[in-house]
Symmetry: D2
Subunit: 146 residues, 4 copies
């Protein structure tokens, strides 16, 4: 199994820290490997919808971020990767204390990287799958991805 490029971990952590959306979500990186990322965020007013659950848009945003950095963890030194598109199915009400998004790679090609995002809701210590994302990243040359 491949490992993260030298310096890539620090790059991704610095990039993640620059995302205002992730800061306002109080999101943090739990695990980062070559082609895999887990991030999570606590429930807060900032990510809520009208019933007091996690907002579907916040769920999508967390999964998008997890998938995006999972792809970025695999690309070459002179490459960047941008989100081309994503689809998410919301599977259950996201009623809980914490949301966890796990990004992984279905297929890594030269131009496109196809990612899978599994999103879990945690309530009283129990995890349940609450959303599933399928997304496409587009690899480009010479764009700062930090």
């Amino acid at each position: 199994m491949k490992t993260l490029l030298e310096g890539r971990r620090a790059e991704i952590e610095a990039s993640f820290a620059k995302q205002g959306l992730m800061r306002i979500f109080q999101a943090s990186i739990n695990k980062l490997e070559h082609g895999a990322l887990e991030i999570s965020m606590p429930y807060s007013d900032a990510v809520s919808q009208q019933h007091g659950f996690f907002h579907g848009g916040a769920i999508g945003a967390l999964a998008d971020t997890a998938c995006g950095y999972a792809a970025i963890s695999m690309i070459g030194e002179d490459e960047a990767a941008l989100t081309a598109e994503y689809k998410i199915n919301l599977l259950a009400p996201a009623d809980g204390d914490r949301l966890i998004a796990v990004g992984s790679i279905i297929k890594s090609g030269r131009t496109l990287i196809v990612c899978q995002g599994d999103v879990f809701i945690e309530k009283d210590g129990k995890r349940k799958l609450c959303a599933f994302m399928l997304m496409t990243m587009c690899v480009v040359k010479n764009l700062e991805h930090k």
Copy 2:
């Protein structure tokens, strides 16, 4: 053309106001009709990614909200509608001052409502399409949608 149910406008405005995510985004409703909603938000740190553009996840969240309420504007008095799934294509970097999401209806069925979301980025007074969403809402009975 049909018009909004009596009281539905006030319901949607109250529901929107309860969404913590929309408040943190500083989003507001610009236009609300039967089957159509326009919402917008200014650029701010809260919706940013690492390059200082609107975060793809925030774009998805705004479009999801616009499509969702466009569907809710059409359902019956005793019905609610939940997001089943959405897909979004990001078409251009969302580099600008303001993001506008327009939700409209492709097809309204008894159980499923299929919506379209057009997202525009505004910079120096010019609007440009920057994302396109296709989403499915599921109509249910007896769930408070306020």
Copy 3:
């Protein structure tokens, strides 16, 4: 683990046999369980595109069918299920002798069943993942699904 409803296997086999598209594809059911279906088809002119590979639309159609019957294998006696929507990512050129689609269940709800379709291309006895589908079935009452 649940098993197929009495008679459901025969129903699905009869329904599959009635699909002209599957006949023209020379597709057959390899495996059928509660919530899981595998079907396959040989390469032929009927499923080809301009380069002599399997047509992306034929790949989608096979995966749609695998996912659809995987969902139908789980529903109640008086229920039917219809395809609401599907998304497919084509991961590699489908250059081979045989295409295999495996439908399985991500989440089964009262109204919606979310399915996953893994499509493999077989060449000289080796299997490779060549497409991935995420799809939504809508469960309805009182519609003949045979």
Copy 4:
């Protein structure tokens, strides 16, 4: 408005004619312009599902083909375009005599072309929207797309 590249019409017609799937569908090109394609097919056993309607997979395949060639009509002389992914919502039972798919362009970029597919069912001379596709083509260099 741009027009088709010299020779591109003949190339697309020849490529379409080579697709065994389109032949078995008895599909034909009705209209071809720069960035827009309309194709149609009659109802036949070859495209049927178990209830005698057009098969959802055949609907997807026709829309995929319409979108694909709409994108190919716009690319440069030395370029080819491959389907990266597509999503389709089935909006109504495709119960009719003829299916018409119209492919058009939402956004054309250097690497990705995002297309829209509107699919209509025609019965007794009346057209009704029955499916909507959102798809992504990936532009590549030096691949024969004929």
